[in-house]
Symmetry: D2
Subunit: 343 residues, 4 copies
């Protein structure tokens, strides 16, 4: 999340080093130059935002261990995040970690089902399932499961796939060939674990890293449901009670985003309360990637605990001190101690 982090950090007066994904070096360079021009046009040195290009293993490691870099904000996998967290905190640095997500939406019988259907399709298929907040797990009340899944499949059939620069396209390609492999391996493993593909499941022939948007019916207890596949595969699961659905929602290691569709206030408050969703983003009647702009963005548990934005995120980017100014001729002593010198 380059934008939020860097914007707030620069507002707070910091110099910044930005390392983009290894697969997007040219974009990183181009973006840095654009920002540099804006900075200089406004009388600021372009160098307050510097880019480094290179592999995480060499360049990244130097960033992690350098005491002069007060804070490291990292977006990536939970595996790499563990290393970042450990190394930076060993030197008492600060981290903002936005790691893996495994986001679920709960559909209750009293929810607006048309809204839920559109939110689910956008959440699972938009950006070809390559958002940190993409919908991975759709938890549907048993009373409406069959009809709802059927309507989803019907919607999936109509999704225009193709050139992402074409305004009519709703789903573009995967990021790299490696992502296509992750998709195909994922489908294979899902099948092995008893999941059944209700729609899609295959890569698209022809040029480009295109795959079919995919709906999978699977037992929520299957191990693969615990992991994040960064591709457009959506698990659909059935539940009987809100408590059961919330346990499913919370029953994965990641804790980024979550949402519920209901019109009953009692369910809303249960969901957003201390015994409800354990994620960082807890939505009601919008999708998992629905409305986060401006709010504190980030998640709990293996998602890393960081928050990149929100009303008090600036505190992470600044040194903070507690100043007591005494303008009297009397001396305040700690804990009201009496300490009178005779001389």
């Amino acid at each position: 999340m380059l934008g939020w982090n860097l914007a707030i950090s620069m507002i707070c007066g910091n110099c910044n080093i930005w390392k983009g994904a290894s697969s997007t070096s040219l974009i990183t360079v181009a973006t840095t130059r654009i920002i540099g021009e804006v900075l200089e046009r406004n009388g600021l040195p372009a160098g307050i935002l510097t880019t480094v290009i290179g592999s995480g293993r060499t360049i990244g490691e130097r960033v992690l261990t350098d005491k002069r870099i007060g804070m490291v904000s990292f977006t990536g996998s939970s595996e790499v995040g563990v290393h970042v967290s450990e190394v930076v905190h060993r030197r008492f640095g600060r981290t903002i970690l936005e790691l893996g997500g495994n986001n679920a939406t709960i559909v209750m019988p009293d929810g607006n089902l048309e809204l839920a259907r559109r939110a689910a399709v956008f959440g699972a298929v938009g950006t070809a399932g390559q958002r940190c907040t993409s919908l991975r797990r759709l938890l549907i009340h048993e009373s409406l499961y069959d009809a709802f899944v059927a309507s989803l499949v019907a919607a999936y059939k109509t999704i225009p796939i193709g050139d992402p620069l074409d305004a009519k396209t709703l789903m573009g390609p995967l990021h790299t060939a490696a992502a296509v492999k992750e998709y195909e391996d994922g489908i294979a493993e899902i099948t092995k674990q008893g999941g059944s593909v209700l729609y899609g499941g295959k890569r698209r022939e022809g040029p480009g890293n295109f795959v079919e948007p995919t709906i999978v019916a699977i037992d929520h207890a299957a191990p693969i449901v615990q992991t994040e596949l960064f591709v457009p595969i959506l698990y659909v699961c059935k539940f009987s009670t809100l408590d059961e659905a919330m346990a499913m929602n919370n029953g994965v290691p990641q804790g980024l985003s979550s949402s519920i569709f209901t019109t009953d206030m009692r369910s809303v408050f249960k969901w957003i309360g201390p015994s409800g969703s354990d994620c960082g983003i807890v939505n009601v009647n919008c999708g998992t990637s629905g409305a986060e702009i401006g709010g504190a963005f980030g998640g709990e548990k293996d998602t890393g605990g960081g928050r990149e934005s929100g009303s008090d995120s600036w505190k992470q980017y600044m040194r903070r001190s507690t100043c007591t100014i005494n303008y009297t001729d009397k001396l305040p002593l700690a804990q009201g101690v009496n300490f009178d010198l005779s001389a």
Copy 2:
């Protein structure tokens, strides 16, 4: 800092495990029982505050690695703090670290010198120099150095040392025999590094871990000035300009507390501003341990970065979620994307 941490944590609804210092096990047990009685009298289970007794190496390690323990607040040495920080953050836990301090007070020519003298003596001698915020380094403007040091020595001569339960006592014993050794080894090393003892410097004969409160003149560049001796040894150093004094203040690895004595507003704002003291506590006209109650308590750099109290410290003790509640029949999509299904 048992009180602040546990009070806020309990107010925030958490269950707590408390491990006191290994040398104070009986006090830990007694305090826990008192708190437990208060809890039960108010209809709460005593078990929301549990105590463990044992060595840090065995018991402490289990606390650090247990994923069920969301936050670890640790007060102790920077060496152990490194380990705590690394291990807890490897599992994406939270930490509040209050590690070593090396606190300085700056005395400017336009300050209230009588106030400064009393603050210095209390800061260095109170609790026998065994506070995290105890004064370790007194930075005195060259124009008043000689007279100020002389007045300090005069004050030190009058300090009543003895039984801490006697109301007239201003300085009691050290915590353990090991602390007396730390004091004696410290004096030896100071002398080796060119420091000269202006007052004190010896342990007191007789029963109890008593030592003399000690004033040492030393070059601020001596290596030992970089470390924290948790005993009543005060370094006095000379400076010419405020900038020089602030550079000394910031020129140690620790960053807990600091203070200045001046009546000039321009010096005050320089001191509390972004180019001023880099500590967590930045006082004006009171000592390093003068007035911290209620404020955000903790420090930067090797002090570990944690804050145990203050107006927003509760956020560390709670799960925080960003809730967006949509009560309309329209669906907000991330970043205002247009995503219309035809079916």
Copy 3:
């Protein structure tokens, strides 16, 4: 609302003059003495809370016109409130006005009806209808009107009336004989305007100012519904849609308290939103006098607009200044004007 006002005012460091109701002079004196003793026990002069006894016309007027009295907090009728507001603001004083209420509760078909029934009875009958937040108008959805009114009448029949010091009593006497007259005149006028008494409607024979708790069915358009009778008379009215019910709620000159019973989130947000209730207190699933402690207490329109408590009410009790401190050697000029003197 003596407690909130005076507590906050005293915390803010003010001296206070308190004038109680003319009919409760002995209570005023007794309370002031108790507070005075507490103040003196804590080292404060009892005189920071002073009482005056007398008629509003003579004593009160001097308070209103005295420039030394920075703020006047008045609880009473809208008629007197107009005069207070006019006179105090003519001298640029501040006011907190808590004037008449005419509080309504809306019962929706999807609400918890047992909760609504209990809230209605407590709101209308508790303190014999002599609270500023007492329920005056009960707006019931047409689909459940008959059954709900029947259950109310059944509940009214069981209310123990009598000595307010008896723990079993739920309804005590009216405040004065004048209040009994207001009750009887009210019933007569209600009948004249087409209202029909469903329960009660008569004063109780025997000693004391006792009357029957009363339920009246009336057209909401009847003029008397626009006024506040400070006695236990409850109007019940029927509505078809939430919009209609909200229009009734807002269709009186007063704007103190209001509440709705519903479990549908969409109704909740409509009710608490900008097009919803125009009162100062807007409750959901509790009565009009249900839960205001700690919140900003007061109302809009002819209720006078004041707020006696709440998180920022202290600002009314203090002088507030905007301080800009310049510690540099440069001079900021208004609106960035360039104004260079050559000499």
Copy 4:
């Protein structure tokens, strides 16, 4: 202060009626049209900002008495402000009043005198003394009075007066011929009350409403010092102690802006504290019109008490309600009353 008021009010969602000064009708119309075009370009109806042209006596009165206009923000004289305050509050409307000022600057011996001199000239002469925050009274410590006044007179001699559209001009004409009469009558009255003109004092021959920027030495006790002349006449007065200077600062009916020049922190805190300046704007080391943008703008006493901007000024432009939402099956009762129905 058209900008602040209307900007915040429109952000808060209100429709607005704007009445400019009677002498600036064409500017009012032109500005309204510009704003209307901006609004329409952004998809908002131009009518959310409406202008009325006419005399205060006819048009203004209808605004004051119309219950549909929830808030009246008035900038003008204290005399008219009394009427506005009285009439609007009689109908429980809200007001923001920015009435007369009589702003003082205190110059202490330890202040930056060059900064003070420039601030004083800009404050008194800028906009030809026709700002609400223009400097009217300059209170100078006796030890530097003579030299400081001499340096002021020297600066006044160099001020370029003329066409306000010429970039070199520092002082333009008065607003109207009536303002020139106010200036000349003021000088006559000042002389009658014992004031002596140290510089200026006459209108400039030739076309346009030009007058000389004027410095007057006068006893602070002279009655005319209590009133605001909205022209470039500056009173200079002598004091011995800070307490005396603060008493002078506070010793007029108006309470808009004030400032002090000092580098001593103790004077700063005394000045900005509860016993210090009683104005709404309390500056340090900048002029009375130095730095108010963004802060809460307005003043106390006869200045009317309003605040047009600042971090919480939006609260004045919105209806505020205290919402308690109960999502349980239990009923909270006021003040924890026990009220159990048997039926």
